[in-house]
Symmetry: D2
Amino acid sequence: MRFFSDNAASVHPSVLAAMAACNSVDTAYDGDALSKSLDGVMSDLFETEVTALWVTTGTAANSLALASLCPPYGSILCHRDAHIQNDECGAPEFYTHGAKLALIEGDGAKITSEALADKLTATPGGVHWAQPHALSITNATEYGRVYTPAEVGALGEVAKAHGLGFHMDGARFANALVTLGCAPADVTWRAGVDVLSFGFTKNGGLSTECLVYFDREKAKGVAERRKRAGHLLSKGRYLAAQVIALLQDDVWLTNARAANEGAKKLGAACGHRLFQPVEANEVFARMTPDDAAKLRAQGFDFYDWADGEVRFVVSWDQPAAEIDAFAAAIAVL
Amino acid sequence: MRFFSDNAASVHPSVLAAMAACNSVDTAYDGDALSKSLDGVMSDLFETEVTALWVTTGTAANSLALASLCPPYGSILCHRDAHIQNDECGAPEFYTHGAKLALIEGDGAKITSEALADKLTATPGGVHWAQPHALSITNATEYGRVYTPAEVGALGEVAKAHGLGFHMDGARFANALVTLGCAPADVTWRAGVDVLSFGFTKNGGLSTECLVYFDREKAKGVAERRKRAGHLLSKGRYLAAQVIALLQDDVWLTNARAANEGAKKLGAACGHRLFQPVEANEVFARMTPDDAAKLRAQGFDFYDWADGEVRFVVSWDQPAAEIDAFAAAIAVL
Amino acid sequence: MRFFSDNAASVHPSVLAAMAACNSVDTAYDGDALSKSLDGVMSDLFETEVTALWVTTGTAANSLALASLCPPYGSILCHRDAHIQNDECGAPEFYTHGAKLALIEGDGAKITSEALADKLTATPGGVHWAQPHALSITNATEYGRVYTPAEVGALGEVAKAHGLGFHMDGARFANALVTLGCAPADVTWRAGVDVLSFGFTKNGGLSTECLVYFDREKAKGVAERRKRAGHLLSKGRYLAAQVIALLQDDVWLTNARAANEGAKKLGAACGHRLFQPVEANEVFARMTPDDAAKLRAQGFDFYDWADGEVRFVVSWDQPAAEIDAFAAAIAVL
Amino acid sequence: MRFFSDNAASVHPSVLAAMAACNSVDTAYDGDALSKSLDGVMSDLFETEVTALWVTTGTAANSLALASLCPPYGSILCHRDAHIQNDECGAPEFYTHGAKLALIEGDGAKITSEALADKLTATPGGVHWAQPHALSITNATEYGRVYTPAEVGALGEVAKAHGLGFHMDGARFANALVTLGCAPADVTWRAGVDVLSFGFTKNGGLSTECLVYFDREKAKGVAERRKRAGHLLSKGRYLAAQVIALLQDDVWLTNARAANEGAKKLGAACGHRLFQPVEANEVFARMTPDDAAKLRAQGFDFYDWADGEVRFVVSWDQPAAEIDAFAAAIAVL
């Protein structure tokens, strides 16, 4: 029973069906009707005119976005625990051609607007210190925490005041959204976000994320960057189909809701062990190696986060029986 | 009726079936059983121990291979018409961090061993001129021409004598192979090739190519480079499944044979218009704009290669009726 | 007697004197009075407001300029024989992060506006082919040929019409100027040039070139790029001093004139051997290996340009006796 | 009176004299006798066969060294306060093509071998987290602290055990050495250092540092990287001359000793304000803005290091009267 991560879950049946449905010859790259419809689909969802591109991975989506926002000689402000800092083998540095990530502390992998302002104040000007050009936050965060529209908006104001581009890594954007209950627009462009990496792979997709530029000027060059990174698939319609299938009938929200609810169950079972509130589909708990071993002996697989800390992730397709069994096993530790 | 390219053809049913068959949770990235089997599958096919990795696009496969063979300050010898030079928006330069492509002339987009030797002789030594570190050829070439094992072997000898890594862009490797009728090993590592971009997408796959390192030492770092380029998909099993499905029961060869035979029919119809022999699934013919317009008026779509030159490409799934109709239409021009 | 190149000549006494004169503690980097005066000095010389920076080498100056004009995914149009293509070990690719150099043919290493327009017409649009963003020419060229203001202006018009940035490599700008007899402005910004690499090292300097941005908007980021390339010297005043010393009393023009006149003498001695007119301080002549050997046996050092072709370069400090002796030796071959 | 930094001090007369002495035509780049002698000169000094190259700045020297030790997908371990992290505008990222700097804490900008080992233990393996390939320390450090041979040796052992290349930023290597009183070899290659950025500019030079490779295998490609970074000056002899002039008659040690002794005087005057021991030519003291203002009002210029902290740097050429006056002014605060 895999609570290790949500990144290898199964693919939603509607996604496979949609891929099968486009299995006839069409225009290559992103010239097909599905790919061309993405701008419109996302503009409708976000209630504003956007530029949207499919990308196969979150790492590529994040890095393309950051390359749009930061020159090679600049720096990108992000949380010390950000995925872009720790888990992408230097992909942002590759795509931006060497921009620096400047790290900010904060509980739950969240950056407060005060911490952002302090960091900016503490950064010397001039040409010796790489100057900040962008801010990147993750929603939901690497600790399964959620930024509210107000929190994002406060960051967006500081960002705008300092001329920073504003990127949101939304690998688990759906999970954040069902917790927030707000419109997608509220926690993105209305709060100052310029570009969103809108994740689908963890949430029922096969291999697709969607880059959404709310500031369409900033999309300049992204198509070329995607091509030269080898991310312009010739049969792009199968990627666009995934995105569209998941948006259809709110499958993406249904999937995220299921995962979040499972996580809440596990969180409740963890009780005082919890060291982060459960706001999405991840659970962070203190646990001795002995207790962790006991759970593993019962067939539960999960991640050792740090010394005495574990992480459980619930996937969209996690059977209720698995979740209940895991919750019970945790409760009796 | 699309004879524009083979890059947007449909996906072979066995590929979709194989993808559906792996639709349950598994280990992420390339830790699943299918991905882990690729080394063995390719080692069997090529009759030697290889390191094999799935990659989503040919551009990424080529660029990763070149980054394995050439340092940022070196140059890569290739044909003036090579895909890596003209059609990848500088992807080799991106992945190699600025290596130069040094261009060689040759009929049919083929490089002869003499032309290679001449180019090397004409290249000044020292630190001012970027020194050659790699040779890249395409088989079948951008003109649908095929290198024989003897021709590749002659190039391989020159490459080895000059310490060059040797890459083969095999976007249409299957098409070359069915024409050659030799073992895959004969035209690759036995002829000196170090790395092959083994193409599947144009030949019935959805989004997968396979990087095959015959010189396994040269694979050092490629996993890291793939990750930081955003090409390590979390659900990699769906890529491995495509490769394996196409190799199963020689689907890949059957597909390529069908495409090649279609091209031969069109080539025969072209007669004296042909300016390149048809050795794979591409046909290059001289044609006035008027004649081209007549064909298009009948619903045939194809590529204007150059002034007075057109290209037809036959895909693996091209209906016989389309091919016959196109051949007839060409013949009566 | 060295006619091999002008790149290792001695340093003009006024330059050494100026360097000695600033030998007391001052503000570091480019905060000293001399460095800060460069904008004004160059604005006066070019009769327009410019942004000017010292740089230690022509390679760095050219590459910084190109990085200002071309994104990583673009291409730079230049002559096949350009220094940036052949003699800088991929420096433009390094500084631009992988932009491609797209090569144009032309006699005397000169690009005509027709050839430029043809190249642009022949370049496919879209994201597959790296799109042209800049034009770079060398004046005087690698064949010692000079572009007139009219020729530069014609190129500038094509460049502007296609949205290309326009760079001039002026490693031997002084030599071109004394031949042209025009104002520096006439052959640069008045003719559409955006950035000039203004060379001093070959013309009496020790280690300094000056980047001159006529389009000051395009200078955005160049200070940061210079710093991160390690070219922001802490004792920058010694570089600024070189530039100013050479401009003082027209030393730069006097030096260039001396070199050009020497070259003309050698050119006259070459007679029918000449295959390029002598327009600056370089002489290109046909010569058998035997004849070349005879000259070398008499102590004359020069460059084998190509099979049966040699290059002589006269330096600003070349003694008249050396030039006369060389001319005589050539004449009696 | 400038105690702001030692980076803009005057140039030692013997350096200017040596530069004037080589003011006649010679072979270009590093083909002249002085440049060619550098390997031997440094091999003698370090009592082992080394490869040595002149470079104009410390930033370039450091970055070239790091590019020799770390692939683009790796990371470089260094102190949080390291010059390469804070003061080079991303130069290491530029030259390494995007390697990450992984930061370690430690008093006085020193890394202990325990802290290094801990950092390595805490770094997850695999392709997601950039893997450490190099260690870089600064001696004397950014806090004017000195690593002893034993300390460097302990770091070297950890580095070697983990396969890390080991770089020493020796911008103030001379200052460290006169404090240590050991042989240059003792604190470098005998302690496991692979490459040293040997600083001369801060210590009486005009614009020269020397890259010294103790592990000569690791120098592979550095000449090409230097060229494509635009750091291969055509008149290289004037750089080599600076290095040689400073080594002659131990000028470099004499200069460093003078600076260190001045710093000791200031340190003594600071008394309890000191928060770092004075081990080289830098003094770090706690000071209220009021006190700092009082000193500045008397004509003393220095750096505000952090809130309530100041830095004084004594240069090799600092007049004794200035030092005494400053010490007196501090003492009476």
